[in-house]
Amino acid sequence: MLNEQKVIIFQLKDEEYAVPVQEVKSIERMQHITRIPRTVPFVKGVINLRGVVTPIIDLRSRFDIEETDYTDSTRIIIVSVGTIEAGLIVDSANDVIDLEADSIEPPPEVVGGVDAEYIQGVAKIEKRLLILLNLTKVLNPEKLAVLQPLESGK
């Protein structure tokens, strides 16, 4: 464990979240998303990311936070964990900071409505409270319960 790690900070509703910079490939503006039919609601679809078809997850919907319209500041953070690559839709992303290892605390039970399961820890920096996400958990494909085919038109 390094004493310091760089994190990307993004906004979701009123909370600030952080993901390690080495798990982030790029940050994209909002663009046309091709809907994938009959998958879970938080998977908004796929985009063409420089020739690679990349799935897009709405993080608000993923964490059961009420969804809002996308604005000019909406961003897609392209993350890559293990063999999975996906884009996360966030309200805005505009900061990179160095976190001291000793400023990170284990997660409380519930923070800002997000299940503790997805949280690696919280960090207090001056007056800001940052929630460190565990992306491996967030991107667990097992959460993608595929809906059963409808009995129609067969």
């Binding site: 994938i36 039919p37 796929v46 996906a86 038109g153 067969k154």
Partner: protein, 667 residues
């Protein structure tokens, strides 16, 4: 010295050398006097020995060293090339291949090759004794002499309730017509079972190149005693010793033969083999070819597509601005990028030779086992296919070739009675045609027996009596591809084993190709496979459902039609339409895919009639965009199982369109 970095090179090169030796030994069989061939083999073996010794694979080096000695003896005319010598060389090759495969899977490359080494040494000394001159009372010993393939057969037929016996048969010392007696023994056995191996080989027995004993391995449902009694009825047979082959031991020695497809390709169109043989590992074929990791090529392709999309944008912009200079530049860019696309695509192409190479050897072995004379003619081995297709096509072809040898080509005696040449011919052809590659396997054997096929199909409940009466020949042959179908009278070897041609068909179709069969009784059979040039590019029909675009693979489309609303009928709560006299269920894409409404329903309904096997469905869409060649993309690991979507593609405007998996929409 750190060796791991050379491991990849070692494996690749070893495979190439083994391939080369394999081919040359087959050539040698055709022209045993040709010393240049021996020299070629010697060179490859020598290189292999050097490499494996350097890498520290001793068993490999030992075996190649012994091979070298034998080859050297042949070169120096100390010994002549006989079937026996060739057999031992082939056995050695099998061992070498198995070791290399083992090494490539991360093993140590160790293998017990002492027996083969002994055989080689015996050959070198000119002792023409067969390795398996052990006493028949040691069946465990005998099982050592089965190759991979024979073991597989024995084990599988055990499961089918056959017994495998090893027979040691002695003729009387004063027997005059040994070959005739052997023939009679064979006849007797073939009435009640199958001969899978004989020692010495059939040709040697026919040429009376044996003392008075020979050994046969057979598969039968009869008891050992029954067989013994029957064989003893043949006059001048002195003694028959029957021992059951111990499958337990066989089981232990059957290794998994997994096709280890190295993720490497020969970039550039390599047609000429490097003539000069080099003795230093890593130095061969330098300058002519370069190995490129296939992933890099994929990246190249992705980036290139981005470029194509941007090019499209530039074209639009230049049209808008009407600037001559810009126009000219954009046009030039279009031309260059078109050429670039061709180059990138051909970079992934490799000649089918890579797959075809292993067939002559296989056919030789199989024909020998089945006591048939088969000549394999390969045409068009230089035809190129995408690497990804090449990796997949091997198994189905093996299956079809086996099928031709097993069910197609008749036994020499049968062929001569019907006035044919005793040696059957199998043509393996590959050729390009438009955007497809065709591979044909044609034999001049007995053809498909229509009656037998129908009987079998009735028996297995694939068709009904009424259906069987008005099937055309073509439809009847198609039944071969129905699941669980095999027409061999006795379950022989290989081509079937409960795994029928249906598996081949599925495989080919999963590659986006198709397979058909045609046959003329008495004249032979031809299997014809049509494959796409590449797996990454396919032809689709683009359609719109409300405001969303979907791609439907052309391979599953029968036709498109526009029907009137009134033509939609109802049957059992199911909307259907009449399509050329058949009732076809309608599948409303809008509902199935829960597409947000954005348009008024129109008077006319565009439908795409698709099929899965012989079932059909009509997909209801909102409009047709047209036919396109698209580049296939996967949805990535996160979305590995999406209902009725097999992948995606990127359209000219840079947006993603999903590709339908019609099979999921047809019940």
């Amino acid at each position: 010295m750190e060796m791991t970095q050379y491991l990849d090179i070692f494996i690749e090169e070893s495979k190439e050398h083994l391939q080369a030796i394999n081919q040359q030994v087959l050539l040698l069989e055709k022209s045993p006097e040709e010393l240049t061939i021996v020299n070629e083999i010697f060179r490859s073996a020598h290189t292999l020995k050097g490499m494996s010794a350097t890498m520290g694979y001793e068993d490999l080096a030992n075996l190649t060293h012994c091979m070298e000695n034998v080859l050297d003896a042949i070169r120096n005319k100390k010994i002549t090339v006989t079937t026996q010598v060739l057999d031992v060389l082939f056995t050695s090759l099998d061992h070498l291949e198995a070791m290399v495969v083992e090494i490539s899977e991360g093993g140590s490359g160790k293998r017990d090759v002492s027996e083969t080494v002994r055989d080689l040494e015996a050959l070198e000394k000119g002792e023409m004794t067969k390795s398996v001159s052990h006493k028949a009372d040691k069946p465990a010993e005998l099982s050592q002499s089965f190759d991979q393939y024979e073991k597989q057969i024995i084990l599988q037929s055990k499961e089918q309730g056959f017994h495998a016996y090893e027979l040691s048969i002695s003729l009387r010392k004063d027997c005059i017509l040994k070959a005739a007696r052997v023939y009679m023994v064979f006849e007797v056995i073939e009435q009640i079972g199958e001969i899978i191996k004989s020692i010495p080989s059939v040709d040697m027995l026919e040429a009376e190149q044996f003392e008075s004993d020979f050994k046969l391995s057979i598969l039968t449902k009869e008891t050992g005693e029954e067989i013994k009694q029957r064989i003893l009825k043949v006059s001048e047979v002195d003694e028959v010793v029957v021992s059951e082959i111990n499958t337990e031991r066989l089981n232990d020695s059957v290794h998994k033969e997994s096709e280890h497809s190295a993720e490497k390709i020969n970039a550039a169109n390599e047609t000429k083999k490097d003539e000069s043989s080099s003795t230093s590992a890593g130095g061969s074929a330098a300058g002519k070819t370069i190995r490129v990791n296939i992933e890099r090529l994929d990246q190249l392709m992705n980036l290139f597509e981005e470029l194509v999309i941007d090019r499209g944008r530039l074209e639009e912009i230049s049209k808008m601005l009407k600037s001559a200079e810009l126009n000219e530049t954009v046009e030039r860019m279009s031309r260059v990028s078109g050429d670039l696309q061709n180059i990138i695509l051909t970079m992934r192409m490799v000649p089918v030779e890579q797959v075809f190479n292993r067939f002559p050897r296989m056919v030789r072995g199989l024909a020998k086992d089945l006591g048939k004379n088969v000549n394999l003619e390969i045409v068009g081995a230089e035809t190129e296919l995408d690497r990804t297709v090449i990796d997949e096509i091997g198994d189905p072809l093996v299956h079809l070739l086996r099928n031709s040898i097993d069910h197609g080509i008749e036994k020499p005696s049968v062929r001569s009675t019907s006035g044919k040449d005793e040696t059957g011919t199998i043509y393996l052809r590959a050729y390009h045609s438009g955007n497809h590659v065709f591979i044909e396997i044609e034999d001049d054997g007995a053809g498909i027996n229509r009656q037998k096929v129908l009987e079998k199909a009735l028996e297995n409940g694939i068709i009904t009596k009424e259906m069987s009466e008005n099937l055309t020949d073509k439809q009847c042959f198609e039944l071969l591809f129905a699941s669980g179908f095999s027409t061999a009278e006795v379950i022989s070897d290989i081509s079937g084993r409960g795994v029928g041609l249906d598996v081949v068909k599925n495989k080919i179709e999963s590659l986006g190709g198709s397979i058909s069969v045609d046959s003329t009784a008495g004249y032979g059979t031809i299997f014809s496979i049509q494959l796409p040039l590449t797996l990454s590019i396919m032809s689709v029909m683009l359609v719109e459902v409300q405001k969303e675009k979907y791609a439907i693979p052309l391979s599953s489309i029968i036709e498109t039609a526009i029907i009137k609303k009134e033509e939609i009928l109802s049957a059992h709560n199911q909307k259907v339409m009449d399509f050329r006299g058949r009732v076809v269920p309608l599948v409303f894409m809008k509902e199935i895919f829960e597409v947000p409404s954005a348009m008024e329903a129109s008077e006319y309904v565009p439908v795409v009639v698709v099929r899965k096997g012989d079932k059909m469905a009509a997909l209801v869409v909102d409009s047709f965009i047209g036919q396109q060649e698209i580049v296939l993309k996967s949805l990535g690991q996160y979305l590995s199982s999406v209902f009725a979507i097999s992948g995606a593609t990127i359209l000219g405007d840079g947006q993603v369109a999903l590709i339908l998996d019609c099979n999921a929409l047809i019940k």
